[in-house]
Symmetry: C2
């Protein structure tokens, strides 16, 4: 049998698949001489490991028969109650019956793609968008309607223009808080307008909120889910506010789509890990513990954000612009006339990694953008990484006067 | 917005989705007065819980920074090495680089469906087949080519006839050892013939082996993977030989399909739980521990199999026939002229649950079959459950002389 005997049988969706640029970078970025501003790995070293050990041991000592067994497809009831309490702290009212526990929010994205996308269906996404969402959706072969962002988040007026012009996306995927990769937050006015527009055109909203609780200053803005519970599938995760190693995400949606999502979840992996779900439930059972840990994580990331922004001011060439995130993990940089993908090998040679902008656009635009993740390296490494990169960018030919946009 | 606003946007695949009969039964079977011979839940109470606690605590105490972080999409290297050692004990040679760790073998089935199935593509499955595999594949909208089983497993001659007649399935899905639901094992002669036939017609084999290590007597037969490594995707799981609560399964495949499966895995959930992968790795690191535990599980299940078969002899009506599994979890019963799906509510009323045969056939045949799982209840409960069911079946009108087949 020839080596490509399997390939002859592959589904059409496989032809379009390529290795994620972000994932591929993780290997490079693991080299000890490279400062990685690429991957969005949470700084789990900031977790109180003795507390984590206590929680895990407690789960196995007291609830082994449940922890080691198969669980319910929609998730452990006790965890779903805790997740609704966590959402309540952000002003989101929810019934535990409307929650489906997933393997990180990434699995929720896969299930959303399965639920809505037939090959060729249009879906609306922010440009740029989280690269992992694009990977998850692309498996189901959609056409992308790209809606631009600016410093106030999604350009709702542009979405409205497209809908008025006849576009009928199966859903809109949006990350309103501390956007990945753009670092921007959707303004309150636009949130209200967005839910109105989507409702009037019958476009369901998929609201991805991994970073909402990592707010460095100011007050939370209303979630899209809280503004229109009947038309939003909300995606949450513990990966950034606790840890990704237990792979706990969830969906909050109206009962009917939740019923379908549960069936798709069961077909995909039967159920999430009971051990992990009980660890999460037990972690969240002590409000002082999880909110205290979250506050200390916010302090860590705020300080790193500050270091990143100060370093950019210091080391990046005139003409470069960047966003000023009020939370989350990412700064989004525009370097007019640069080709950030082509530059990456030179950057890695100098000991710094980032993610090129093209990874975040379905149509491959974003050549002059790059994403810096400030979440993982300590402040001095961030400064040194930004310095190395700034040095490289400063050596580039001066940009032409045209072609300078902020997001 | 009307209640079905989401539904208007659903993908075509959703129309054919219904709740799994097996999953729906789990709720009924949880009633304390009902003896469940329905779900295939491993008897995790037989695990040495102090040893499990020690392993979990050790992982978090010594490797928290890894355990709590994101992991590699293909799985932790250390675990992949341990899984190849485990497979080596069954005569399967494997390179850890060809292993992909999944969320139970169920996720592997979903990834296989994604890899191979375009809507309308034919795939070949045993009739009956594992209901969860049918659920996973059906999401991708295949046409099913059903190949019957007998007491020696898949009727390879029938498959060959279909291929000779022009059928070109994208793959064959087969469970050679202690089949779910049929309890039968593919004979050595047929294994050799099967890999020859599939190779000559260019049909990849998906070999699902959740129960192979739960052998009650005799010697292991050669895996299809070991007979033709270049044309088989082998699926393994720790759910039955350790525990399902950590959701660890895997694929072993040639490098090219493995590369695609890893990309699909990353798109589906980024990576499996590092905590769970390290627990599995640490559990398997002590060969005496895991093989000793496995031997004690085999003793438990053998004794329950014996109780189940003896109870069937004692309590089931003349005319009923059943398989005699040499391992695994299931006995497959034929009750001529019965409608096992219609009978189920009456059975539950009498305090016993099973899975009706129709759940295991894509075309809804199998009305006169039922699956008994002997894995979870103790011997006396198995006897009482079989007695209750036998009593109900004995009250049925006598079967007609025709229509009696064994598998």
């Amino acid at each position: 049998m020839p080596a490509d005997a399997f390939a002859e049988r592959y589904a059409a969706r496989i032809a379009g698949m390529t290795a994620s640029e972000v994932r591929a970078l993780f290997a490079v970025a693991a080299r000890p001489d490279v400062i990685s501003l690429a991957g969005g790995m949470p700084f789990v070293q900031a977790l109180p490991s003795d507390e984590v050990l206590r929680v895990v041991s407690q789960v196995v000592a007291e609830r082994a028969t449940v922890a080691l067994q198969y669980g319910a497809g929609s998730g452990q009831e006790g965890l779903k109650v805790r997740l609704t309490e966590l959402m309540a702290e952000q002003g989101i009212e929810a019934d535990p019956a409307d929650v489906l526990v997933t393997v990180g929010a990434q699995q929720a994205l896969d299930l959303v793609g399965k639920l809505f996308i037939d090959p060729g269906d249009p879906i609306a996404v922010e440009a740029p968008s989280y690269v992992g969402a694009l990977s998850a959706f692309s498996v189901y072969e959609p056409r992308y309607l790209q809606v631009p962002l600016d410093e106030h988040g999604l350009r709702v007026d542009e979405l409205e223009d497209a809908l008025r012009g006849g576009a009928r996306p199966s859903f809109l995927y949006v990350c309103p808080n501390f956007h990945n990769p753009a670092g921007v937050t959707l303004s309150t006015d636009r949130r209200h307008r967005l839910v109105e527009v989507c409702r009037s055109y019958g476009v369901p909203i998929v609201e991805d909120d991994p970073y909402g609780m990592l707010r460095f200053e100011g007050e939370p803005l209303p979630s899209l889910r809280s503004l229109d519970p009947g038309n939003v599938i909300y995606l949450g995760t513990l990966s950034k506010v606790f840890c990704p190693g237990i792979r706990i995400g969830w969906t909050l949606a109206p009962p009917e789509p939740t019923r379908q999502l549960v069936l798709l979840k069961e077909a995909a992996d039967l159920c999430s890990s009971n051990l992990n779900m009980l660890v999460a439930e037990t972690w969240l059972a002590d409000r002082g513990r999880w909110t205290g840990t979250l506050a200390s994580l916010v302090d860590v990331y705020r300080s790193r954000r500050d270091a990143c922004l100060a370093s950019l001011e210091r080391h990046f060439p005139a003409g470069a612009t960047w966003t000023r995130p009020g939370g989350g993990f990412y700064v989004w940089v525009t370097v007019p006339d640069a080709d950030t993908k082509a530059l990456l090998p030179a950057a890695v040679d100098r000991g710094v990694a980032y993610v090129p902008g093209t990874a975040f656009y379905p149509d491959g635009s974003g050549r002059d953008r790059l994403r810096l993740a400030f979440c993982y390296p300590p402040e001095d490494a961030i400064e040194e990484g930004v310095r190395r990169l700034g040095e490289l960018l400063t050596e580039l030919p001066a940009p032409s006067p045209a072609g300078s946009r902020t997001t």
